[in-house]
């Protein structure tokens, strides 16, 4: 089984502060990577470098393409969720999914079933009327819209109750079984089975 993403000798420094140095890891189908670190340790920066949102790191990233060759450009359908959830208060739960950038080619049935799966049944309620936990559930429902290759999720377990945390673990397991991989960040190891990378530089 070939890794979907190979990261070699990745280093990054900001304002004379070495965030991480010589990182090497591979993301295999159905497997997870957890990036553990304190606030300011470079977890979000690492995710953004991996996705090409910023170009400040040294090192190499190789993505597996459809013909099993490795390229430097991202050829895998990826999902990214940052600290902020990407949920619009002026849209309903259903509209938030229908009008998200991940919704192309997704049917209404799929949108509703995704919302049901995360326990959101009030589809037409505006996000502004929902709690932070419910908004987080809507954001999790977006994971289910399509079969993404790799999910890059920044601190998915923050600000969640036990029930919602268990739901995330369940969904990650389900998606892992379909071959999807997760690269997630957090302050401490979560309950998901993963390879862990610790960013432990002094802040």
């Amino acid at each position: 089984m070939l890794p979907k993403l190979k990261v070699s000798n990745l280093s990054c420094s900001r304002a004379d502060n070495q965030l991480f140095d010589d990182l090497n890891f591979e993301v295999y189908p159905g497997q997870n990577i957890e990036i553990i670190g304190s606030n300011g340790s470079g977890k979000t920066t690492l995710l953004r470098i991996l996705l090409g949102l910023i170009d400040i790191g040294d090192g190499e990233m190789e993505w597996l393409d459809n013909e099993n060759n490795y390229n430097n450009f991202r050829s895998i359908d990826c999902f990214y969720q940052g600290h902020s959830l990407g949920i619009k208060n002026l849209l309903s739960a259903q509209e938030n999914l229908r009008l998200s950038s991940y919704s192309f080619g997704v049917s209404e049935e799929k949108i509703l079933s995704s919302l049901n799966r995360v326990g959101i049944n009030n589809y037409s309620s505006f996000a502004s009327e929902m709690s932070v936990g419910q908004k987080k559930r809507i954001s999790i429902a977006r994971w289910l819209l399509k079969d993404f290759g790799i999910y890059f999720i920044d601190e998915p377990f923050s600000a969640l109750d036990d029930q919602a945390s268990s739901l995330i673990v369940e969904i990650i397991k389900e998606l892992n079984a379909k071959g999807a991989s997760f690269v997630i960040t957090g302050h401490r190891p979560s309950e998901i089975i993963s390879n862990q990378i610790t960013l432990d530089h002094e802040v």
Binding site: R74, K88, L90, L91, E95, S101
Partner: protein
Amino acid sequence: MKSNIYNWFFLILRRDLLMAFRRSSTYITPLIFFLIVISFFPIALSPDQDFLRSLAPGVIWIAALLSSLLAIETIFSEDFRDGTLDEFFISNDPSFVLVFAKVLCHWLVTGFPILLASLISSLILYLPVSSLLPMICSLILGTFFMSLLGAIGAALSLGKSAILSAIIVLPFSIPTLLMGTAAVSSAIDYQDYSGFLLIMGAMLAIGVPGLCLLTVEAILLNYE
């Protein structure tokens, strides 16, 4: 299914227009501001028809520029704050399309109402009927160019003070102001105004690709 550019463009436009119409202040504030500024001139200066007619091109254009600047900082700020902008930028679809869709949306919710209000303002300022066409044409070209300029200002001032984007944009709006005012003034004096409109059209034709690409780069600076 792989998204194509048109789907991508219409998705952003549809989403932003829906949110803009649910937040009525987005389009009502520039409209009201424009009409208030216009109506101050007859009250403060003189109700004399000839005097107001001579002032009208400049007054309408200054009011239009300031009104269209009212909401520019909101072009990207909400998407930046809630993480939607990150999602758009990591997708493999061209970011240029995102910027153009957001500029068009901004123009539809600010520039278009100003166009309609300018017809009312022409009555207040006694503009002759013959100058309405050049006024509307110059406002279409000029306010859209202002939305493009505003997008750069908004991108450069993301996460910073809202007034900063207006300060960045205002100096670059002077050519638009001069051309727009000259077009309407020429029409009032029964002179040929087409040259001014052509220059504004050329500025817009260059501005759409050029300023959209610069805006993409300006947004990316915020991630560095």
